[in-house]
Symmetry: C2
């Protein structure tokens, strides 16, 4: 991983650069539903319609879903395709930059399962 060249080094200057890049990138993912949306777009193997996303991102409301999708589109993470039909059809997909988040999201989901299993084990065996 290229990250090794900058990460966990002792040079304060490098650490500042690292912190800045991280901050900028994380700012793009900031927002209550963005990571969930991205994970769902990964879970689906192709583009998702707005209504599909609304179902998969459990607990979100239309307003927030639209807002977060707009920001993700503006930041170049997802693409939005409108099909001029009646009834309307809008599809959302991951952009190249969004797809590049794949390894990170996969690890995150892996962690989610690890965590779930660990907690299940504890509640089953409270001895």
């Amino acid at each position: 991983m290229a990250i090794e060249r900058d990460w966990r080094c002792d040079d304060p200057k490098q650490q500042l650069i690292w912190a800045a890049a991280t901050r900028d990138a994380l700012q793009v993912l900031e927002g209550k539903w963005k990571i969930v949306i991205i994970c769902q777009l990964f879970g689906a193997k192709g583009p998702l319609r707005f209504s599909e996303l609304e179902k998969r991102v459990e607990g979100v409301n239309q307003k927030m879903l639209i807002q977060q999708l707009k920001e993700l589109e503006k930041d170049g993470i997802v693409t939005r395709t409108v099909f001029p039909q009646v009834p309307p059809r809008v599809e959302y997909a991951l952009s190249e930059m969004g797809i590049a988040l794949g390894p990170s999201m996969a690890e995150l989901i892996d962690w989610a399962f690890m965590r779930r299993d660990a907690r299940a084990a504890v509640s089953q065996d409270p001895a």
Copy 2:
């Protein structure tokens, strides 16, 4: 990665389980500063004092830092160690569960650099 067994499968039931685990885990990371805090704890090779975190998590204020740290501690991601001294000394470190986030955070930071470089290239070469 164990994730392959559940992720991106076509079984709707598995997808529900996957979505639930992901949602629960992401909820733990929900909060404007949590991922930044975790990344900084990774960037440092050891525990960090409160004041150190305050400097490294740029833009955060004391109240939010304390709040997010409390939640992370409650959710078992970080540990908090108090040294009975004057002046007080409190160190924060990643727990086992927090350390398990390492691969995911490393990928995330890797993505951050990739993104930064891509954007730098675009702004340098607008042709």
